[in-house]
Symmetry: C2
Subunit: 452 residues, 2 copies
């Protein structure tokens, strides 16, 4: 039995974990539904031609590739032991790396059948051949919601409301940060290095981790002039509410067309947010950059307030995601919830609900065949009344059956013995306080209904 | 765009399909919960050492294998273009082929953490590199429920009740067939060829497809003597209820110990079923064999009555499933629901429910920024009252917004125009009959509540 195990970076989920994971998925799904998002699923495997080149060089390396079936190798393929070249002829399929690229492929492929704007959500696992470490797995679930085919910033407002609502329901206090790539582009222009947007954002992104001093150092190392950095510093040091910050930026970045657009968008979005009463604080954060290159407008990120953890949700607008598959001018905006990190936050804060709505409520004790004549139909009727009911399958000592109920956290045990059968009454034992009452079937149902 | 596509044998699920698939999964899951089964999940990929050799030679061939990451090939691996040998050094992981072998691995690996008897269910996709054809896919979902660690036939009774309940809820009329491998073994003994059980069962299994004459022919071809077959024929031609059939078998198979055991088991199980009132007919069918070699006791199979389709559910008892992973004497019994075939039956019979409980109930028309001051908070409050609500994101002609509501089957549209804002009332348009009423927010909520 020593060799039993699972591939590194993957996980089994035991019943209690599943129950908690489902609590997260169900909450997210319910909120998605409330905002009109519809579910789709895509295959676990995609053609490598769909996946390759979409996630950068590192992404290509981290794709799990699936060996073709059949024996079709040619001598020529084997002249040189180079896995990359060989892999190309060995594999034409790979496992889904995220939900975004398959979604883009899906939209292009099924565009005739979709009602635009199309609001879809997708909760499925993805796979990355990354080095496993604490909190990083090779198989993990993503929960994505995207709207495609609409430029309206109301979509951004919807996504932010959804995030606010999800975390409110999960009782996680969060801070919601919003920025706009167009503002960052404007700042890069203002600094005199519009072509260095990526370097600027990569450095800025680290501000809350390494401090302003080190951010400047990093920019210098990346070849951005000290004067340029000095010029931009006041922007990142701004205080005050979003409106005064945007006015200040309007003044400073008046020479940048893209910054102007960004300011208009931020004003519109924060205008919408002001019309709503959200549970959590939403702030503009100019240092928020988010790594993904395909974002072109609003970007957003959510962190837990009471637990130190990376972002637990994030997203943004991309103007041309389906372009890679030949469908131009299809703007989209999306948000993704990180189920594993949310799990860890709930776990660390003790926020998982005590009870769950899927576990057994009543165990019927098994005294053997004679009593089963009564127990089996009783179980059936209790289920018909909507309860979750088990009969202990084996005729073993009652102590073992109680131990089973305890281990499974079953709150009530019903004892159907000879005397109970004669009387048409049953012993209902409350497992939490050990109390026992003799009740008719109807009385049991009434009692259990109180449990609901 | 011409190259866009997905690997053959895989599928995208569009919103309407997802909704229907979820209807099946939710029904099955709810019934599983009512009988005390708890959910687990295992990784999509298992070590090949876990999977290989568990499904026969063909199964090994049909496993999807995952290419190892990194460049580790040796010249020596490449001397001969033989994929099988190469694959062994290229791959150490494979995709799950079914839910049973991973479950056995799971039980052995986590046995310290499981409460026995352990009743688990699992609803996850599996992958097989089979030739795709109508109704056969390379990625498909299985819905399995198993009880492990209990010999009691009450477990069989539970599984049969569950199947009965699932199909009752789905409104599919079914016939439930039950047999016992021990009876088949007894018959093989009675025929004088106890070592030919597999051949006998394989031939018998085809009885309802090819008829008795051809079954006999097939057995002869497989080297079973004509006299042996003649001897067994009356058993398969039996009429009457399960009790009289079992008595007749008891008489004929009195020389077989294993048959005796099988008869005792069948009497006990049908005794339990008699205590219950099931919605569907449950019959003993001696010709039911089911292919899988690991079954050792009860076997069961369910077919739709009104649609010609293979079995839509099936299962049985296996005495030594975890033995392959070194844990002996762990008897189990399980049932599996075929989501794809159930989907087809529901589809052909028009049995999918019209409405679903996840789609948008109200669309709020978008007239532009001024009205949004009123529309945005209204949408928020309607959601707080539990409704599924969308605001049309773009300010386009009202006709296009209505067309969107129609295409999405949204039953109500709320119109918030200038005059409505002034009055604090809104137009509620019923999309099915086109009627329109001017209502306060409270009246809208009352009206929508009737919809629930």
């Amino acid at each position: 039995m020593s060799q039993i195990g699972i591939p590194k970076g993957t996980r089994d989920f035991l019943p209690e974990q599943m129950c908690r994971r489902n609590y997260i998925f169900d909450t997210v799904r319910e909120v998605f539904h409330q905002f009109g998002f519809v579910e789709i699923q895509t295959p676990s495997m995609e053609n490598l031609s769909t996946l390759m080149g979409k996630y950068g060089e590192e992404g290509d390396r981290l794709l799990f590739k699936i060996l073709n079936s059949g024996n079709f190798l040619e001598k020529a393929d084997l002249e040189e032991p180079n896995l990359n070249r060989l892999a190309a002829s060995l594999c034409e399929k790979g496992l889904r790396y995220d939900l975004t690229v398959p979604f883009a492929r899906f939209v292009v492929q099924h565009r005739q059948d979709l009602t635009m704007p199309f609001k879809r959500f997708q909760i499925q696992p993805v796979w990355r051949a990354d080095r496993p470490q604490k909190g990083r797995y090779r198989e993990f679930y993503q929960c994505d919601a995207d709207i495609i085919g609409s430029n309206s910033l109301l979509n951004e407002a919807d996504l932010l409301q959804m995030a606010d609502e999800v975390f409110h329901r999960l009782k996680i206090r969060v801070q919601i940060k919003v920025n706009n790539r167009k503002l960052l582009a404007g700042i890069a222009e203002y600094m005199g290095c519009p072509d260095r947007l990526t370097e600027v954002t990569v450095a800025i992104d680290k501000l809350d981790k390494i401090g302003m001093e080190n951010v400047c150092k990093e920019m210098e190392e990346r070849g951005i002039a000290r004067e340029a950095i000095q010029k931009a510093l006041p922007l990142f040091a701004q205080q005050g509410d979003v409106w005064s910050q945007l006015s200040e930026m309007e003044r400073l970045l008046s020479g940048s067309e893209v910054a102007k657009k960004g300011i208009v968008e931020m004003r519109e979005l924060f205008g919408y947010l002001e019309m709503l009463s959200l549970h959590n604080e939403t702030v503009m954060d100019l240092t928020l950059a988010r790594g993904l290159n395909y974002y072109t407008g609003t970007i957003m990120e959510i962190k837990a307030k009471d637990v130190a953890m990376g972002s637990i949700s994030g997203g943004g607008r991309y103007d041309d995601l389906t372009g890679i598959f030949g469908l131009k001018n299809m703007s989209g905006v999306g948000i993704s919830f990180g189920a594993d990190r949310i799990y860890d936050v709930l776990s660390e804060s003790g926020l998982f609900p005590e009870s769950d709505n899927s576990s057994t409520q009543v165990l019927l004790v098994n005294f053997g065949e004679k009593e089963l004549v009564c127990t089996l139909p009783l179980a059936q009727r209790l289920r018909q009344s909507g309860f979750r009911v088990e009969i202990y399958p084996d005729e073993v000592k009652i102590g073992r059956q109680f131990a089973y109920a305890d281990a499974r956290h079953i709150p009530y045990v019903v004892i159907v013995g000879e005397s109970e059968m004669a009387e048409g009454r049953f012993q209902l034992k409350n497992m939490s306080d050990g109390s026992q009452t003799c009740l008719t079937e109807e009385e049991i149902i009434t009692k259990l209904n109180d449990l609901k």
